[in-house]
Symmetry: C2
Amino acid sequence: MNSPAYADLTTALRRNHLLGTMGDLLGWDEQVNLPPGGAGQRAAQMALLAELGHAAASDPRIGGWLHELEAGRATLTADEQVVVRQARRDFDRVTRLPAEFVREKATLVSEAYHAWAQARATSDFPGYAPFLEKHLELAKREAAFLGRADAPYDYFIDQHDPGLTAEVIGRLFAELKKELVPLGRAILASPVKPRTDALRGFPVEGQRAFLREVTERLGFDYQRGRIDVALHPFCSGTGADTRMTTRFNVDEPLDSLFSSVHETGHGLYEQGLPAAEAGTALGMHAGMAVHESQSRLWENQVARGRDFWRCFEPRFRALFPVQTAAVSSDELYLAINAVAPTLIRVDADEVTYNLHIILRFELEKKLFAGELAVRDLPEAWRAASRELIGLEPANDREGVLQDVHWSGGAFGYFPSYCLGNMMAAQLWYAALAALPGLEEDFARGDFSRLLGWLRTHVHAEGRRYDLLALVRKVTGEELSPGPLLRYLRERYGTLYRA
Amino acid sequence: MNSPAYADLTTALRRNHLLGTMGDLLGWDEQVNLPPGGAGQRAAQMALLAELGHAAASDPRIGGWLHELEAGRATLTADEQVVVRQARRDFDRVTRLPAEFVREKATLVSEAYHAWAQARATSDFPGYAPFLEKHLELAKREAAFLGRADAPYDYFIDQHDPGLTAEVIGRLFAELKKELVPLGRAILASPVKPRTDALRGFPVEGQRAFLREVTERLGFDYQRGRIDVALHPFCSGTGADTRMTTRFNVDEPLDSLFSSVHETGHGLYEQGLPAAEAGTALGMHAGMAVHESQSRLWENQVARGRDFWRCFEPRFRALFPVQTAAVSSDELYLAINAVAPTLIRVDADEVTYNLHIILRFELEKKLFAGELAVRDLPEAWRAASRELIGLEPANDREGVLQDVHWSGGAFGYFPSYCLGNMMAAQLWYAALAALPGLEEDFARGDFSRLLGWLRTHVHAEGRRYDLLALVRKVTGEELSPGPLLRYLRERYGTLYRA
């Protein structure tokens, strides 16, 4: 189809996207550069951008073009249908929520954040509970505005990963849990103990140099991106200008390295999306879980693997000869793949991390189903923690109050982390099958075949496929926890003789 | 007056200002951080911001509020009148230029820039001349749109320094020239020769540390600003978030230091403007020349002075003991105040710099008056250079093609540099008279009395007064070249026994 409405629509979408990229930059700058005295002005700038963005995204002309294009749907190409479908999702979300509701939620987000921070500091869940209850109520109203009063939790899951439902996730997680809990216990009981505390005193300059070499080898294009220091690692921006952050701790060299490789995975995905389509669904990532599959694949399957270290260990030792002198090659590899249960999700290792996610998903699901009251959440958390992780928090600060997400009304967000791990493992075995000798490439420091394969099969597709369809298309199989369990057993079962 | 129109107007002005601050940040980031591959997206972002800014600034409601407020002018407070007057200036400028004209000029700016860069590289003035002729033609049309067809050059001067005219500048410059040319010649003939090439091999880290100490002592508030490295030094942003840049050259430690102190002067002014009034004339600088007076005062009168170095020389030597070992205190001070004629304005010293400006002003004035044709500009430049600076360019690259300004249609801009120098000297003597023992403060590293005095008498006034009125108010005298000549004679005449 060669429709003026389609051209008008995509022009408007690109313009709105460009507005969004300014917000990205201001947000990045706030974390990386902003002097403290500039915070008030930055908040005002962000509020103005949000206002401009809302006005642009709810422009009634977009509704008119969508109406016209949907009426002539049969004449649209498949790609055009992808673009129109996503534009409809976004337009509905921005126009169906009354301004009064949006204000109410924004106010609650702000109040709940402060209540959460306060409650966390004093481990006082009851002080925070009313805000969480209010968030749940607003969440249900929000879903109703979008025609999903029947399944509010599904509505939120779908916001992050289009097409996914709590039922599908529940089935996948139940299957994963069955084998993962015993595997975690077995690793814990293993006599093999990593010496993580042996790596101390790594000067920042050396860490920075090593990180730069690694990320360049992986394929991050520094002509279209950069990495800076911030309090928390993140990746923002677009493929044209990808801004990653990291943080350095002289006594935690692996923490900085792997969190940066994780962000590099996100960055490689953004840099691989079709630049010419930026602003439409064809130039957009396929959802949170797919994004996370990219970061996890590079972080875990690739950079924590034996062959990666065959290439980089000599360089690491050359940069830090004194600091690594007392650590054998096997000890280093074990420290890289340390597994130790923890109460805190963000500190968790690759094996038990998934259990933290399952815990949150199960509680969220019950909250939305009315099977769990907010006031009973701390006790439910403790019970789930015992069952899944084998540890019980001594207080709510280490339990139900540890994450910021719910205070922002971000429900249905946690599952993506674990789904991303599943997809990463599934992609990994598909890549190994499609690219014979791939790990030998890594040992030589060559990651180009893997990146090329991901570029073609995942990045270039933009948002043409949702998570389930994309996995099916790339691997020929349904999304399942099988490959993740296989991978965890192969790496960690072997390493820990568990 | 407590008018709803006034409240509406200032709300709109603040919002438009906030849009402008985003452009500042994007522009700063482009110079400091942007990866090369992000240039296209940044250009698109800037174009979109320009479009949004134009729409906001030309909002017909602003015209309505202005109309209402001007009709009831007698009921406005003096401050409100200041705000309304500036808003009228800005509104007229943005609404009276037809969109077609704005596009035509933007296209010419882009084409003329490339033609200039090309002509400069090959020293080929004739290839650039048609673009400059076109710029002059557009400049006259622009002035006509704003009702100044009678005096187009004055229109442009007024854009930079409200209220000023070519006649006033011509009178001031003629007076300055009369004494400055002989002073420059006398310094040149002096047997005292600075050893600028003795300062070599200053590591960047030490320069950075020294610069930070100096700028903090001068009073720059790093809680509301920062300094980074860029290709060219500049200062952008607002008082809430002032972004300065510098550049380091291991063999030019004074270049970085003084260009940064210059930018610090601009930054101190921005940080001293009334924050609560940001976006209105009461929170806005008083014009280019006043801004330049602040940068020059801190750079020249303060930081090139004896007492400043009484404080900082020991620290400078401690940071760079080897590099300064062979340079005596007097030799260092002479290098700091080196005078040497050059064909290139941006390389000029504090004495001859003013002559470069007078040269440009005289030629601009003749161009606008029709007394000089563009094709005769190179020859006129050479003659003026011989007369004023005592040097004749061997080619147009070192002559008429050296500056970028005219290629952007920026006429009437150069005079501000020299007017700023005049005002700086005039403020200097006023401060010395008002603050007994001021230079002894400097020797102790205390600059707070000078900054406080400038805050009160210049910064806090925002745009209440134009250049001439502000000088009159602060010093009790008319703007004149006398104090600048006195200062140059006192410092350089003594130093060079000229």
